[in-house]
């Protein structure tokens, strides 16, 4: 992986990605950031009930991994993976309604954040209990293998979540069954207030792959193209029926655990060191340096995104909450 202390290091553009792809990636990174800016301001205006968890520092992981998937592939975004939901096709209005718990949201306001799934888009809806979605997504991979769809299934887990039993049970199950499953560790140095050295003492979480007899790779999580490439490789391996891959992405959580957390427990120098590798600007600068984008393009994209988000936010704000009685419905499927 790239040395996090050499931010100036140039991002390599992999074969098979044309300018349009690069622009798409850039768009989704910016969109993620813009969406969360909007969430933060709505939160500050008291328009969001419950907590807001942004993906600051994780954008390249969410976008880069999802970009390596096809529509048929199953994806289970976790709490730092708004970008993955966007790439997978969740409409902005829907997502905004979901974060604002409106009655027309995917969960009809019964749940919030990214806790929704959609069969047509091949997404699974996470629950809060970390680790739970690993066996569940492995089950989706088993289904794809049984149906012979050729699709793979991918989900995420944090440095903190990597300590829970389901990480072990799920990966081992997928390995034994040689399932088309990809687990992406989002190692962003902290689990809430817990630094990595209090979470694990192995050198690389990717090394856990050895204990399951599967490949484990470590990649710079601030480099969207590196993340994309590593995922692409894992996807191809999965499609070939060779089994799961564990990908450890290294990045830094650049904000608090939630907007209620001032993260004073994170040394300022650490934040600054990582700010130099802030994933969105890092990629944007790379594209500007390479002339894939001009300043004017960036401005145009920002304006487009602002408009799209304005529309989505207004739509959500204008959308009513669900009837209270809706609370009593839907426990069981007909």
């Amino acid at each position: 992986m790239t040395d996090i202390h050499r931010p100036e290091e140039l991002i390599q553009i992999p074969h098979g990605l044309g300018p349009e792809d690069l622009k798409k990636l850039h768009y989704f990174l910016k969109l993620t950031q813009g969406f969360e800016d909007r969430l933060i301001s709505l939160y500050k205006q008291g328009k969001i009930v419950g907590g807001v968890y942004t993906s600051r520092g994780n954008e390249a992981v969410a976008v880069g991994t999802a970009f390596a998937l096809e529509a048929r592939d199953v994806l289970c975004p976790m709490h730092r993976d708004l970008g993955a939901a966007l790439v997978k096709g969740d409409p902005l209005r829907e997502l905004m309604c979901q974060f604002l718990a409106r009655g027309n949201s995917p969960t009809r306001g019964k749940d919030s954040n990214l806790h929704h799934g959609n069969r047509e888009r091949n997404t699974l809806g996470m629950i809060s209990h970390l680790g739970t979605m690993i066996p569940v997504t492995v089950g989706a991979a088993l289904a794809e293998k049984m149906s012979g769809s050729g699709a793979v299934a991918l989900t995420y887990i944090g440095d903190g979540g990597s300590s829970i039993g389901d990480f072990h049970e799920g990966l081992n199950f997928a390995a034994v069954q040689r399932l088309p499953f990809i687990l992406v560790i989002e190692n962003n140095q902290y689990a809430f207030s817990t630094p990595n050295h209090m979470q694990f003492v192995c050198e690389r979480l990717a090394d856990r792959a050895l204990g399951y007899g599967i490949p484990g790779v470590q990649v710079d999580g601030t480099d969207v193209l590196a993340v994309y490439q590593a995922t692409k490789k894992a996807v191809e391996r999965g499609r070939r029926g060779e089994g799961p891959t564990l990908i450890e992405t290294i990045t830094m959580r650049l904000r608090g655990h939630s907007e209620a957390d001032n993260f004073s427990y994170v040394p300022k120098e650490l934040i600054e060191a990582w700010q130099a590798k802030e994933p969105v600007s890092r990629f944007e600068n790379a594209l500007l340096q390479r002339g894939v984008l001009k300043e004017a393009d960036v401005q145009a994209i920002e304006e487009r995104i602002a408009a799209e988000l304005e529309d989505a936010a207004q739509f959500a704000l204008d959308s009513p909450m669900a009837d209270p009685e809706e609370a009593a419905r839907g426990v069981f499927a007909p």
């Binding site: 995917p106 629950i127 209990h129 066996p135």
Partner: protein, 324 residues
């Protein structure tokens, strides 16, 4: 029709549904080549192949989570817990993911969890537990607990065809002891409907699982003295048949609830609460319960016997209730 055992009835229910619906598959520990700890799936792997009869690693949370994930993707997995006691090792997957997913975003999770349950088999604290009450209290899960071969087969079909997570409590004591006729390929027993196995107007016993036959036994002894006691086999625990219970109690005015599970916080408490609320005017006597002691399941036979409900204990409670 020929007589089959309760275990064979479960097997028939499973195999007929696997024949009928290619989306049904089984997963669990030692269920393949070995046919399962109790041999319920003996021969299934030869017949349906390794893919549809999946031997798993020793990992209950993975088994239950994988089943839920496959269910969300259109399959109908039937997961086996080697003993219902071990479901605690995968508890979270059931109560937080499988149970809450349809409510949260409207997609069905059609899966069955086979739970070889209960005692009277000298299994000790970790191979004899009744684990239904935890799930009875978890909205989003359905629970069935057959006591006869016919119900075992018919409820297995219903559980597999249901679009929700269904916990299927198959009683280890009944596997080879309960015998009887079973229905055909389309005899599906509706989840939520009880079965009145004995008619009477003197009192009502509501029970399920292994204590159904013990209750009938007690009722028959009492009948010799002229009191005919009604015995309702719930069959389904969640949802349970409120109407049948209330109708019966309104006739008899006396209710005895019997279950093998420990007393405090058991399903009997809920039934007593529902009846004391909705049939208050009809009650001629206090609602009584016969259940296991509020302790773990002791191993040694004399203690095990003292721990579990028995026909004599039920009979004694009945006589007290009738004398009230």
């Amino acid at each position: 029709m020929s007589q089959v055992t309760y275990l064979e009835a479960i097997r028939e229910g499973l195999s007929e549904e696997m024949e009928r619906d290619p989306s049904v598959f089984l997963l669990g520990e030692d269920i393949g080549a070995y046919g399962g700890a109790f041999k319920v799936t003996a021969g299934f792997q030869e017949r349906f192949g390794q893919q549809r009869v999946l031997d798993t690693p020793l990992a209950e949370s993975a088994i239950l989570g994988v089943a839920a994930g496959a269910a969300l993707r259109g399959y109908r997995p039937v997961a086996e817990m080697q003993f219902s006691d071990f479901i605690t090792s995968g508890f979270n997957q059931l109560v937080n993911f499988a149970a809450k997913t349809h409510y949260r975003y409207g997609e069905p999770v059609p899966m069955v969890v086979r739970c070889p349950t209960g005692g009277y088999i000298h299994g000790g604290p970790f191979h004899s537990q009744s684990t239904e009450a935890w799930f009875f209290h978890t909205p989003g899960l359905k629970l069935v607990a057959p006591s006869t071969p016919a119900d075992a087969k018919g409820l297995m079909k219903a559980a597999i065809r249901d679009n929700n997570p269904v916990l299927y409590f198959e009683h280890k004591f009944l596997y080879r002891r309960a015998k009887g006729e079973v229905g055909g390929a389309e005899d599906v027993i509706e989840i939520g409907k009880s079965h009145t196995v004995r008619r009477g107007d003197a009192a009502t016993i509501v029970t399920y699982g292994a204590t159904v036959s013990l209750s009938v036994e007690a009722a028959e002894v009492v009948a010799r003295d002229g009191s005919e006691v009604e015995v309702i086999d719930l069959r389904s625990l969640q949802p349970f048949d409120r109407e049948a219970i209330l109708e019966s109690v309104q006739r008899t005015g006396r209710l005895l609830i019997v279950h093998e599970d420990t007393l405090t916080g058991g399903i009997g408490g809920e039934i007593a609460a529902v009846v004391s609320d909705q049939a208050f005017e009809y009650l001629d006597a206090p609602i009584r319960r016969v259940a296991s002691l509020d302790t773990p399941v002791p191993f040694a036979p004399p203690m095990e016997e003292y721990f579990f409900p028995s026909a004599p204990k039920i009979e004694a409670a009945l006589r007290e209730l009738l004398a009230y």
